[in-house]
């Protein structure tokens, strides 16, 4: 693929004028974040892939209607989140918590690991990842979305407000409420694990 150059807005302008390669470059630039957003919202790789593909197709079809009143990325995030919302409605269920990978060290055999990371640390990290996924999946959609955009996509409060088309204060409220719930859940999990370890140690 040709080297990516130009701002998103320049690429959008060229793509709108019919330059398909510019659109390919926009996809190359944004596919990973869009996939991450879809995956963390839906919890399943297959669904995330479908949403990513559909999001870019919709973006392509809607290019002429994109007036540049928001950043291209905010617009793309909004398309993606709308598709995720439709998907959740259609499936009539909450996001899926990714399947637990278990704690069998063999499952990590092909994982890229720094040499000084022990299997115990790796297991711990995997479990933490699942715990976060679980806690996030249980949040109300609006709170989860605000946290995703802030924590994993680095949007400012204002950019989140633009993306979700809601007031700035609403964004902050959702974010604060979501973080508070997560904090309680994750702290409870940690104290449960600590007491579990103590019990195991006492038995031994």
């Amino acid at each position: 693929m040709a080297p990516t150059n130009g701002s998103d807005e320049e690429l959008v302008a060229r793509a709108t004028a019919g330059d398909l390669e510019s659109f390919n470059q926009l996809v190359a630039r944004w596919e990973r974040p869009i996939y991450a957003l879809a995956f963390r919202t839906l919890g399943r790789e297959e669904d995330a892939r479908d949403v990513v593909q559909e999001a870019f197709l919709r973006a392509f079809r809607g290019l002429r209607g994109f007036k540049g009143q928001a950043k291209f990325s905010s617009w793309l995030y909004r398309i993606t989140l709308n598709l995720c919302r439709d998907w959740i409605r259609r499936e009539r269920r909450a996001p899926i918590v990714p399947t637990p990978a278990g704690t069998d060290p063999n499952t990590f055999a092909d994982e890229q690991v720094a040499p000084n990371v022990s299997v115990e640390e790796l297991v711990g990290r995997r479990q933490m990842s699942e715990a976060v996924a679980q806690a996030m999946a249980e949040l109300p959609d609006e709170q989860r979305t605000a946290i995703l955009l802030k924590e994993y996509h680095g949007l400012t409060f204002q950019e989140i407000a633009d993306t979700l088309q809601c007031p700035l204060s609403t964004v902050k409220t959702r974010l604060y409420q979501g973080l508070s719930v997560l904090r309680r859940r994750l702290e409870r999990r940690q104290s449960e694990q600590a007491s579990l370890r103590r019990a195991t140690w006492e038995k031994a």
């Binding site: 996809v27 197709l57 990290r125 933490m128 924590e151 409060f157 997560l182």
Partner: protein, 209 residues
């Protein structure tokens, strides 16, 4: 400040303006509750970093740029007919001869075609994706139309009710409407590119499933 959460949140994400930042820091220096709250929020943020997204390949099948050039021979028949239609519609009025010629040359012409919304996905485009129309293409196209008109004119002498004058009128109209033809052909080209892109988009959509 303990019951206002917004300033603390803004501070947490480093989005406070300098005045607010000083105010929050001054408060934190004296309030243990808010210090604990901030520390708790920072811990959650660290925990959130643990959430990995599995590696994945690209799901996007890149659009391939439209072929850079084509010959007018690739232009589907409907395009030709539509181009003829606009020429006749603009230039020749409702000459009986024009209609006669038109109905033999392009029996299924939709005269409304140049206004475009009716042009959706012509089946012929699926096998002959069109690219840009060059001036040369137009010239060849026009020459061909003129020749066909000329041939028809000669043939018309044998037909009752159609005079050579009708065809002279058509030829004049055709020349006058060269610009209309250019515009129309560009419009067709534009639509063809869009159709090709949409088809690629659809194929891309099916390919990844």
């Amino acid at each position: 400040m303990c019951d206002e959460r917004e300033p603390l949140l803004t501070y947490l994400y480093d989005e406070s303006d300098p005045a607010e930042r000083r105010r929050v820091e001054a408060h934190l220096a004296t309030c243990e509750t808010c210090r604990d709250e901030l520390a708790g929020l920072r811990r959650v943020r660290e925990d959130l970093l643990a959430w990995d997204v599995p590696d994945h390949g690209s799901v996007w099948k890149p659009f391939t740029p439209v072929r850079p050039s084509w010959s007018w021979r690739d232009v589907p028949a409907w395009t030709l007919a539509a181009a003829a239609a606009i020429v006749f519609a603009i230039g020749a009025g409702s000459s009986v001869a024009a209609n006669a010629w038109l109905s033999s040359a392009a029996p299924r012409t939709a005269v409304a075609l140049p206004s475009a919304p009716a042009v959706t996905t012509p089946a012929s485009l699926k096998t002959t994706p069109a690219g840009t129309v060059s001036r040369e293409d137009l010239a060849v196209f026009e020459t061909r139309l003129l020749k066909e008109l000329d041939d028809a004119r000669i043939g018309a002498k044998a037909k009752p009710g159609i005079t050579g004058a009708d065809y002279d009128q058509l030829l004049a109209a055709l020349r006058e409407d060269h610009n209309a033809l250019v515009r129309f052909t560009q419009r067709v080209n534009d639509l063809s590119s869009q159709v090709v892109a949409m088809q690629q988009a659809q194929q891309g959509g099916q390919g990844g499933r």
